[in-house]
């Protein structure tokens, strides 16, 4: 078959062997087709003198045109150990990812590495990770309130007024400081992040998070600089993690998400010594 299975005692991941992309996730007694891709928004270069036509910059996300989804065949290598299983994906010269399962840990880890974002075509770029599932979420999704409760969001709507949504993508982006989730009557899909990011659900069953941005124009909201970090002359490389939890919709799934959040943010600090000076903990 064209399937590659990577699994531990709790989670089963199925990949499409010929393309290297994730296809299905099974965990917590639930199975769902979940496709994960990286995608690129081209940063708008507008006229900052017109309020609704500003450039994408440090303060605002404003894409120009449609998103480009990197769904082509990707290179990958699988490392299958007893403690940890890893799928190393090589998307292009500046995007890669490790999808990881630790034995006994009930979440899927996506460790992404993006950058330096090329700008030789004179376009700013904003890179997202996108998870597409079959969940019928009816335009509803949830984002956290600075790590506390979850707030219900609805595509193209606001809680207290009827908006005129002129920006179909960024008009539906919300801050995600801890998690973003969606559900239908059967299943719930949640993403937990390791840093504050922007995120949205622009289609039913789909979640996305903004990972890295490199832009060539200032958006005229105050900093007076383009978001174009040129350390080492080439732009920044960013590395981080997104954790995925798939669960039943009815079994208080947010408890598992909150516990996972505590583990993700454990303040472990490692110290190293030479073992010639072996110590004993008092």
């Amino acid at each position: 078959t064209d399937e590659l299975v990577v699994q531990n005692s709790q989670i089963k991941l199925t990949f499409v062997k010929s393309t290297g992309h994730l296809k299905t996730i099974e965990m917590n007694g639930v199975s769902e087709n979940i496709e994960q891709n990286f995608a690129i928004y081209k940063g708008a270069m507008g006229n900052n003198g017109i309020a609704q036509n500003r450039s994408s910059g440090a303060y605002i996300f404003r894409p120009d045109g449609e998103v480009t989804v990197l769904s082509d065949k990707i290179g990958y290598t699988v490392y299958d150990g007893a403690q940890v299983k890893e799928v190393h994906q090589h998307v292009n010269e500046w995007i890669s990812q490790v999808i990881r399962l630790y034995e006994g840990v009930n979440r899927v880890e996506f460790e992404w590495l993006v950058g330096p974002i090329p700008i030789d075509d004179d376009n700013g770029k904003e890179i997202v990770t996108r998870f597409k599932s079959g969940l019928v979420s009816n335009g509803v999704f949830f984002t956290d309130s600075n790590g506390r409760e979850m707030i219900k969001r609805e595509l193209n709507k606001r809680e207290y007024f009827t908006p005129n949504v002129t920006e179909s993508v960024s008009g539906n982006y919300y801050p995600v400081t801890a998690r973003i989730a969606l559900e239908d009557s059967q299943k719930r899909l949640a993403l937990l992040n390791d840093r504050a990011q922007g995120g949205s659900s622009l289609a039913d069953g789909q979640l996305e998070l903004m990972l890295h941005r490199r832009l060539l124009r200032d958006d005229a909201f105050g900093v007076s600089e383009a978001l174009n970090e040129t350390q080492f002359g080439t732009g920044l490389i960013a590395r981080g993690k997104v954790f995925l939890i798939l669960n039943e919709a009815e079994s208080k799934p947010t408890v598992a998400e909150r516990l996972a959040q505590q583990e993700i943010h454990l303040p472990f600090w490692k110290f190293f010594s030479s073992s010639n000076t072996a110590s004993v903990v008092k």
Binding site: L4, K17, G20, A58, Y59, I74, G75, Y76, T77, V78, Y79, D80, G81, A82, Q83, V84, E86, H88, H90, E93, W94, S96, V98, Y102, E103, G104, V105, L113, A196, F221, G222, V223, S224, E225, L227, E229, F232, G233, T234, I237, R239, E263, L266, P267, F268, W269, K270, F271, F272, S273, S274, S275, N276, T277, A278, S279, V280, V281, K282
Partner: protein, 187 residues
């Protein structure tokens, strides 16, 4: 408390909305890096002093690795033969985590304080991480093991002479594109 106060002060500066959202000027971002790095490095002395109290060591090295986020640790690179990893858990209950330590491609044995072998595995660092500029290229693997920590725990890493004790990863499937490495460029 001088070093800790410095760290507290810098953490206060990092609550500014520009530091939180990344809307500071580039020169300010670099200054934030400088302040935070200096404060963290100085506060390591406090951590070392505390660890000396908590262990029987009077002159413990207790090196920290601020580049673990790019899978780099100068200490384990240079003295990988006999390393003690000390883990401090500030929570009020025991906690379990998988520890990843950048090492050279050798065969290792990890033991706990009682000398019991702890299962460990060696995983390659993803090649794109390896190609990051200014990253030393001789630690191309990470040693992974599961640590259970009540308050403080020591794990001992030793290089094994024979290939037997290491549970080496089995590469089950591989499909690669041509790997055109990004050539380093001078600034």
């Amino acid at each position: 408390t001088e070093d800790l106060d410095e760290l507290r002060q810098v953490m206060g500066i990092m609550q500014h909305h520009d530091a939180i959202t990344g809307t500071e000027k580039q020169a300010v971002a670099r200054d934030y890096d400088r302040l935070l790095t200096d404060a963290m490095v100085d506060a390591q002395d406090n951590a070392r002093a505390a660890l000396r109290v908590l262990t029987n060591l009077s002159t413990g090295q207790f090196d920290s690795c601020l580049e673990l986020n790019i899978s780099v640790c100068a200490f384990t690179r240079e003295s990988a033969n006999n390393v003690v990893v000390t883990l401090f858990n500030p929570l009020a209950h025991p906690s379990t985590q998988f520890v990843r330590v950048p090492v050279k491609q050798q065969q290792y044995l990890v033991t706990d304080e009682r000398g019991r072998a702890v299962p460990s595995e060696l995983v390659p660092v993803p090649w794109q991480v390896l190609s990051i500029q200014h990253r030393p290229n001789d630690t191309q693997h990470e040693l992974v093991f599961k640590a259970t920590v009540d308050k403080l725990a020591n794990y001992y890493i030793r290089v094994l002479p024979s290939p037997k004790a290491l549970q080496r990863f089995e590469r089950v499937h591989s499909l690669r594109h041509d790997r055109n490495r990004i050539e380093p460029k001078d600034e």
